[in-house]
């Protein structure tokens, strides 16, 4: 390039030269500190100009300037949102393909076939997080009133079919004739049992699970009240019944707490925990996947 002519006037000025390097010294100076002039190659600055030109090409081709109610869309009509939408469609199509395997297979086959099982567990985990975790916890750990799904105690049965049935029709869902129904009445509030009877039977229930009872509680009254009022659902030994969703009272698992006060509260006011019916809310494949996933949490029964 012709910098010689462009800067011809400099050549009249005597240039100072740095002896060791042979480079010229620039004229500015700060307290005796001077600077060598080391020119960069011309192509270096040309690349900068080329990138500026490139950016103009970008403005034309791709979305760039924000406008008042829209933006400059670019001639190729690229949209990152459409790209995301296309990716989502692709993953949905892929999942649908995988889910079609779940649709045809029985619950047992899904659980036994490794490829189907992996798909079901992945889909089930996602659906669980979206729909079940608010009550049962992210890992299915449960909370008082909401069963822990990781243990081996299943109120309504722990087989795949039983879980599927519970998921589809829910627990105590009004207007659903296939829903899980069990009635733990408010024995105290409704006046069926008197306060001392409630206290006696609560103590009796604690003894069923080998928990300490109050020293001077009325054992005879407790066991009689239990036999008359509780045994029909919970069984004479308090082993519970899946048919009525009646918990086993002899194990170490307490949905509403095992303190005497908790049990008195339960007997006095009853317990009517509910779970929505997911049939109709979730598609059948998702419910199948959830059944397999929920059973895998505790290993099933």
């Amino acid at each position: 390039m012709s910098h010689d002519t462009a800067h011809g006037n400099h050549e009249l000025v005597a240039e100072k030269v740095d002896a060791p390097t042979g480079q010229t010294i620039r004229s500015h100076e700060w307290d005796g500190i001077t600077e060598l002039n080391t020119p960069l190659p011309r192509w270096w600055i040309n690349i900068l100009y080329a990138t500026i030109l490139w950016s103009i090409g970008y403005w034309v081709v791709y979305p760039s300037w924000p406008l008042v109610s829209d933006y400059a869309r670019g001639v190729v009509g690229y949209s990152s949102r459409e790209e995301v939408a296309a990716d989502l469609d692709a993953i949905k199509a892929f999942r649908a393909k995988q889910a079609s395997g779940l649709e045809k297979a029985s619950l047992e086959d899904i659980a036994k076939t490794p490829d189907l099982r992996r798909v079901a567990l992945a889909a089930g985990r996602a659906a669980f997080g979206d729909n079940c975790a608010p009550c049962h916890g992210a890992g299915g750990a449960g909370a008082p009133g909401y069963p822990n799904l990781n243990d081996d105690d299943w109120l309504w049965g722990g087989t795949l079919d039983a879980i599927h049935q519970t998921l589809t029709n829910g627990v105590r869902v009004a207007g659903n004739d296939k829903t899980r129904i069990g009635l733990m009445s408010a024995f105290g509030r409704d006046g069926v049992l008197k306060t001392d009877e409630v206290r006696a039977v609560a103590n009796h229930v604690r003894t069923l699970a080998n928990l300490d009872a109050e020293k001077n509680y009325d054992q005879a009254k407790g066991s009689k009240v239990f036999a008359d009022n509780c045994a029909s659902c919970h069984g004479p030994q308090g082993k519970g019944s899946i048919e009525f969703g009646a918990p086993n009272l002899t194990d170490g698992i307490w949905l509403y707490g095992s303190n005497l006060a908790d049990i008195i509260e339960t007997v006095t006011n009853g317990r009517q925990g509910v779970m929505p019916a997911w049939g109709g809310r979730l598609d059948p494949v998702t419910i199948k996947a959830l059944s397999v996933y929920v059973q895998s949490l505790g290993g099933g029964k």
Partner: protein
């Protein structure tokens, strides 16, 4: 801000002067040709080398299988989590660069760097079509004529062909080479393959054909780093000014000697400058632009032989030795010194550690993740159970059954609900070839075993066929 500089004293940018390196013959040039043939031969042909790994696995000796996340190098198969081997290689590469540098300067730049190798090849093509230095200079100075245009077009065409083949060889490392070649020829290859060939064609053509020495002088960081790593004992391509100065022609030297004046061996023939691929004068001393390709040594030696003077006016030497000769002392060569020994020692330690790791590395892996919500559950019989997600990797090309067991808590039993128990083991999981699988496992401890809040456990997966055992430490949480 003005490009010309605020205080108007000289340009901030200058056009680069075109360099016309002259052809040269000699031992260093021969060595460089051999290295070029070996390096490019390996680069272009390696993807076609086959290596039998049995069924289900690719038979390409060197393959980076990105879609399946595997890297194959002859008998080595690496998974993504073993990427630290590449870290080790990079550490060794950096130290090897330092070691080369402390022994004999920019060996890498002069002989091995792809920029040098491809530029050499492109220069040979240029010389083939446009003639040697003088002819090329004359052609560029003269007005364009049909012959020059024809020759330049032919040169650029061959350059592009080499550049295209360079990009073509590159993509072959990422897919089955023969298949990809066929797909490329029939336009069935994936778009990414064509794109990468285009990118590498562009970079090779530009860097080796057009930019050449500009890459070394302005774009590469190594000359700057190298200057900080060199020392007084590192050999460099050196003009021995003790012998060369004062420069004068053979006749002048004869006259000077006749009157007992000193005369140097340098006849100022400028052959060292003419052959230099970066267009510098080595007689100015060590400089950033010198890639130490040694071609000036060959050029100078040829001249010295012709005029009957000893070779080695330009040679691998140190500035200190030049000064010692001036002072009448013997030169000192110390290739073995603390710096080179330390570099060599670190290279052997890192290399040895990598070899040991590679030789003893297992073909199975286990990782365990404790369920956190809930940390534990109490079962109906009062026992305590923890859940774990166990991932087992099988890096061998066949099905392998792994028995999973637990140690550390008395009475603890590990079960995997989806794995059927066998006669000998509670949980046996079969992992398909070259795959990794996740299973949910339960560890149950009976009611009467005393438990702390947390106790250490060891989960073991044992290959029932090959006997390989892998372990993972974790915790068992109690009430």
């Amino acid at each position: 801000m003005s490009v010309t500089g605020a205080d108007d004293d000289g340009p901030l940018y200058v056009s680069s002067k075109k360099v016309y390196p002259q052809k040269v013959t000699g031992p260093f040039r021969r060595m460089k040709w051999m290295i070029l043939i070996a390096a490019l031969g390996v680069y272009y042909l390696l993807p076609f080398l086959r290596w039998n790994r049995g069924p289900n696995l690719p038979d390409q000796a060197v393959l980076a299988d990105l879609p399946n996340r595997r890297f194959y190098f002859f008998f080595i198969e690496l998974w993504p989590q073993e990427v630290y081997y590449f870290t080790g290689l990079l550490v060794i590469a950096a130290l090897a660069l330092f070691l080369m540098n402390s022994i004999a300067g920019r060996i890498w730049c002069g002989y091995l760097c792809p920029q040098t190798v491809w530029t050499d090849l492109f220069l040979a093509v240029e010389r083939f079509f446009e003639g040697d230095r003088r002819e090329r200079i004359k052609r560029d100075e003269a007005p364009l004529n049909a012959d020059t245009i024809r020759r330049k077009v032919a040169k650029h065409a061959v350059w592009l062909l080499i550049a295209w083949w360079t990009g073509g060889a590159w993509v072959l490392y990422f897919a089955d080479a023969p298949t990809l070649v066929r797909d490329l020829a029939t336009f069935k290859a994936p778009a990414a393959a064509y794109l990468w060939i285009a990118i590498l064609t562009f970079t090779t053509y530009t860097l080796a054909g057009i930019m050449r020495e500009q890459v070394c002088i302005y774009m590469c960081p190594w000359p700057r780093i190298q200057a900080a790593l060199t020392d007084d004992d590192a050999l460099n391509v050196t003009y021995r000014y003790d012998r060369g100065e004062p420069r004068m022609s053979v006749k002048e030297a004869a006259r000077a000697k006749a009157v007992s004046q000193s005369a140097g061996d340098c006849v100022d023939c400028h052959q060292c400058v003419a052959v230099c691929p970066t267009g510098i004068d080595i007689r100015d001393g060590a400089q950033l632009s010198c890639i130490q390709c040694s071609l000036c040594i060959d050029a100078c030696d040829n001249v010295m032989t012709k005029i009957g003077r000893p070779k080695g006016l330009i040679a691998y030497d140190t500035d200190g030795n030049v000064k010692r000769r001036i002072a009448g002392e013997a030169p000192v060569y110390r290739p073995i010194r603390a710096r080179t020994l330390i570099y060599a020692a670190i290279i052997s330690i890192v290399g040895g550690a990598m070899l040991y790791q590679l030789a003893t590395r297992s073909t199975a892996a286990i990782s365990v993740l404790h369920e956190r919500n809930p940390l534990f559950v109490r079962l109906t019989d009062g026992s305590v159970r923890n859940a774990y997600t166990i991932r087992i990797s099988n890096k061998r090309p066949e099905n392998r059954p792994f028995a999973i067991t637990v140690q550390g808590v008395p009475g603890a039993v590990l079960t995997v609900p989806e794995a059927a128990p066998t006669a000998d083991y509670r949980a046996v999981v079969t992992i398909p070839p070259d795959t990794t699988r996740e299973v949910r496992a339960f560890v149950t401890v009976p009611k009467d075993v005393p438990l702390q809040k947390s106790q250490d456990i060891l989960i073991t997966a044992s290959d029932l066929f090959a006997g390989e055992v892998v372990n993972a430490r974790d915790h068992f949480m109690g009430p």
